[in-house]
Structures are given as structure tokens and as C-alpha cells.
Amino acid sequence: MSLLEIKNVDISYGKNLTVKNCNLNLEKGEICSIVGESGSGKTTVIRAVMGLLPGAGRVSAGDIIYDGTDLLKLTRKQWRSLRGHDISMIFQDSGAMMNQTRLIGDSYVEYIQTHEDISKQDAWAKGIEMIERMRLPDGDRIMRSYPFQLSGGQRQRVGIAMGMTYQPKLLLADEPTSALDVTTQAQIVRQFMELRDEYGTSIIIVTHNLGVAAYMGDKIVVMKRGEVVDQGEREYILHRSTNPYTKLLLDAVPTLGGKRYV
């Protein structure tokens, strides 16, 4: 059985049908990349999986089955134990999801204590351990910093550390590297791959960087204007797909030693 099944899902914001008939299967330990231009509905899909559609957004048709349970029928209480424990999400800028006026450690401890009956000291120590596991030196100093005192790459690592605290089975990443420099991006991508190898985490990564999508994804889903126009194994999408939109996107990616315009 697949870990996650998205079946014939429609998502609407108010009366606007934003995502039409989306289907996706994810096995345990598999990485799926969703690519597409801005406004194609990539983020909407993974937000629906997390039950975090903003405003009037709702899933208007279809099912999202996670590990045998229908996510759309969960109560608030069931959601709360699932989110951040079995399913985690990493945002484009993890600094923005934290309270700017509180220490990172305080936010982290609050998160740990929501999911576990644990003393503040133990939660703090657990936070440090996770942060250091993400290769950030001096976890205690990070815990005692405010989000704005860290660089983009450091903040993103803290976000990943938080998301990975309970070794979720499913990790959703929304453009986790687009705000970063290329060198930091390479470090973060490498860390994602190691998470999969070490913990068998399944990952859905939403990105507009086709290079990253191709490197990470076992499977690639191409979206355009709210519809999945093409999907398949990486090798199929990159080399055998005949879909004109997929070809157009791939053709636009600058490659080293590729086409020159001058």
C-alpha cells in the first residue's frame, strides 16, 4: 500500500476551482518533485495534504489517503497529533514561520512540548541535539538566537531540524531552497537526500528549479494552471516524455556547456 494517495482531488478557493483532478501516489522512502511555474497550483496541492489551505480554500472533491486514513475526515484533534509528528512541512523561509520576537529555542520547546510530555530542560536538550544533527555547529547558541539573527541557510536548517524532530514518515517541502545561494542550496539538497537514506522519509518537494527537482525526485509531476499535465519516473520525464509543456520547461533550463545566446 502506498504511503500517500491523492485521488481525483479538486481544490477550490471560494468558487474558484484552483486545482483540477490531481492524482498522485507516493511509496515509503520515495521522493516526488512537483514542478511548474508560479501560480500553477504546486503549493496548493501540498498544503491540502497538510490540511493547511489558507482562507476559503478546501478540497471540493476526491480523497487524500495517508497510510490508510482519509485525511479529509480527520477531526481537529486528530490533525494536531498527526501534523508535526507523522507529517511535517518545511516552508520557503523557515524564519518567517517562527515568532520574530521569541527565541528560536522557545518556539522549539513549545513545539516539542505540544507533542510530548517532557520537561522544558529535556525539550531544550532535544532541540540542540536535532539542530546539531543538521550540521549546525553550536546548537545552544542557535537556540538562544532570534530568527532574524541567523542567515537564510541557518534558518532553513533549523526549519528542517524542527520538521525532522519526530522523524515523520512524510515530509512536505515548499520551495525549501529558492531563497538560498547555490552553495547553500547544494548543502540543503544533500541533507534532504540523507534524511531519506537514514530514516526512509518520503518527501514531496515543490520547486520551480528543474535541476533540483530532477536531482532529488524519483518521480516528477509537472503542473500547469492547476492541472497535472505530465508525471512519471525521472528518466521518463527527462528523456522520453512527449508532452510539449514538459519539453518547453526542460528546454528553458540553462545547463553548463549548453546553448549560448551570444
Binding site: E37, S38, S151, G152, G153, Q154, D181, V182, T183, T184, Q185, A186, Q187, V189, R190, M193, H208, N209, L210, G211, V212, A214, Y215, R234, L238, L248, L249, L250, D251, A252, V253, P254, T255, L256, G257, G258, K259, R260, Y261, V262
Partner: protein, 320 residues
């Protein structure tokens, strides 16, 4: 490899230091020497905070260096004032990274693209409509967009308007600060095609700030790599991935993801993050992250030396 008579801008020993609140000095640009040639593109690459934008801002008089000279047609632009400065501003224009924040939201597109022309009395008010249409068509936008506002357009269209505004005065030099990084890749491709076409037609020199080596390789004539305020390598744009040899440039290159790479290979990366520019290492700026760092690198700062035609590198590995 470039003809010296085509030399347009010559920056010599440009240094910029910012005083900090606690009385120390932050060196954002350290002794930068770069040459820009007519009709050619120079790509400036490096990580955030390495000083690329700080340097480019000198060329458009948004800031001035603490030391050094920048010659434009033989005159030092850092010392220009008053009427002379006003006169010269029309030869150098700029395109910013985010077109949604570089326009006045209350101005119509025709007012935006024609404002520089009106400022320099090149056209009269009654000519605005026709001129705006002409400029928009030059950047492959429908002329009817002239009566729109910036919020009615997509990011790619807005960036085209920004390019139209920059070329309105027919400048000799345009600074583009990450002009395509806010765009989708398919849109980025069309904008790059537009930029290179305009460059060919109008013989414009471009200073392009970028952090994507794959992109810069596709259209730059020369590429300068910057690290912590220092130029560490200058090389020809064509075949960049074969000739680049500074360990930092190699690391940047290894961090590029493209769709034709070998996916089974683990991605190489350099450890850590650049040190604070307030706290520079005494020797080579890259010494604390460099895989080939030696005793000499820790103490002595390498200078740029020529190792091939149009190819200079600042690294002790290449000096005897």
C-alpha cells in the same frame, strides 16, 4: 581577447568600507579592478553579501567608493558633480531584481518608460504615447500595455517594461542586478533572449549580477567571480566550466543543478558559510573553506595573476 579601444568602463582599485556602530570597518569591496567593453556582457557572480551589488551601484551613482577610480570614457565618474553628472547619468542605466518594487505603482506604464526621456527633454509630453508604444514593441510587448498599471502585468512582462525604461535613453551601459532571478525559468529564457538581441542591435555593454553559473555561462562574454569583497577569478564566459580553476569557482560550479547531470553522483559542496566580512581571515579570504588550503594561504593574500588569455585567478596554487 578584447580590443582595448572598445574599453568603456575601467574600475581601478575600487574599495568600499562601511563604518559599523561599534567603530569597526566593514570592507564590502576590496581593491576591485574590472574592465567593461562596448557591446559585451560582464557577469559578476558570488554568494549573497559578497559585495557584487555594492560594486555595481558605484557605476550608477547610487553610492561611491571609499578609494579608487572608475573611468568612463576616460573620466573619473566617482568625482563627477552637478551638470556633468546629470549629463552622464543618461549613458548608464539600471534594471533591478524585482520589477514589482522598482516602479511607482501609481504611474502608468507609458509614464514609467518615458520618464527618463522627459527628464532629459528628449521628447515632449505630446510624444509620450507614440514613444511608449515604440519602446514596448521593442521589448516584444503589445503597444496597448502603455495605458496599464504595473499591477496588471505578470512578473515577466514587468521585467520587460523595466528593460524598456533602461534602454529608452539609448545608454551605452546597463547594470542588471539579478534581473531574471524573480522569474520562472521559461520566462527567464525569453528575457535573456531579449536582452542579448537588444545588446546586438544597440551595442550595449551589460554588467550582469547573477548567482547562477549555468545561466551566466549562456550569455556572458567575461565572468568575474567575487568572494567576500574580492575578485578571485576573471575568465571568458564561453567554456567557463572547462577553464575555471579557482577552488571557489569550482565549488560554485559543482553546486549547480541541471537536468543533464549525473544523478547517481553525490552533490559536492563546500562546508559552512562565508565568514563575516568584519572578521576576515588574514590570508586568502577563502582559506577557511578551501579544500586545498596550505600554510601560505593562511598568511599571505594571493593576487590576481594571468594564467591564460583573458583569464586571471587569485590563488596560490597557480603562482610559483
Amino acid at each position: 581577447m578584447f580590443d582595448e579601444k572598445d574599453l568603456l568602463i575601467d574600475a581601478r582599485h575600487v574599495t568600499r568600507r562601511f563604518p559599523t556602530n561599534d567603530g569597526r570597518l566593514l570592507t564590502a569591496c576590496d581593491d576591485i579592478n574590472l574592465k567593461f567593453y562596448k557591446g559585451k556582457t560582464l557577469g559578476l557572480v558570488g554568494e549573497s553579501g559578497c559585495g557584487k551589488s555594492t560594486f555595481m551601484r558605484f557605476l550608477v551613482w547610487l553610492d561611491s567608493p571609499t578609494e579608487g577610480e572608475i573611468f568612463f570614457h576616460g573620466k573619473d565618474i566617482t568625482k563627477m558633480k552637478g551638470a556633468e553628472l546629470h549629463e552622464n547619468r543618461q549613458h548608464i542605466q539600471m534594471v533591478f531584481q524585482d520589477p514589482s518594487t522598482s516602479f511607482n505603482p501609481k504611474m502608468k506604464i507609458k509614464e514609467i518608460v518615458c520618464e527618463p526621456l522627459l527628464n532629459f527633454n528628449r521628447i515632449s509630453r505630446s510624444e509620450v504615447d507614440a514613444k511608449a508604444r515604440e519602446l514596448l514593441e521593442l521589448v516584444e510587448l503589445p503597444g496597448d500595455f502603455a495605458d496599464r498599471y504595473p499591477h496588471n502585468m505578470s512578473g515577466g512582462q514587468r521585467q520587460r517594461v523595466a528593460i524598456a525604461r533602461a534602454i529608452a535613453l539609448e545608454p551605452e551601459f546597463i547594470v542588471m542586478d539579478e534581473a531574471t532571478s524573480a522569474l520562472d525559468v521559461s520566462v527567464q529564457k525569453t528575457v535573456i533572449e531579449l536582452i542579448t538581441r537588444l545588446q546586438r542591435e544597440k551595442n550595449i555593454a551589460i554588467g550582469f549580477i547573477c548567482h547562477d553559473l549555468g545561466l551566466i555561462e549562456s550569455f556572458a562574454h567575461q565572468v568575474a567571480v567575487m568572494y567576500l569583497g574580492n575578485i578571485v577569478e576573471v575568465m571568458p564566459g564561453e567554456g567557463l566550466s572547462d577553464v575555471c580553476c579557482h577552488p571557489y569557482s569550482r565549488a560554485l560550479l559543482a553546486s549547480v543543478f541541471d537536468t543533464k547531470m549525473d544523478f547517481t553522483k553525490k552533490i559536492e559542496n563546500i562546508k559552512g558559510e562565508p565568514p563575516s566580512p568584519l572578521d576576515l581571515p588574514p590570508g586568502c579570504p577563502f582559506s577557511n573553506r578551501c579544500p586545498n588550503c596550505t600554510e601560505r594561504c593562511m598568511q599571505e593574500k594571493p593576487k590576481l595573476v594571468e594564467i591564460g588569455p583573458g583569464h586571471e585567478v587569485a590563488c596560490h596554487m597557480f603562482t610559483k
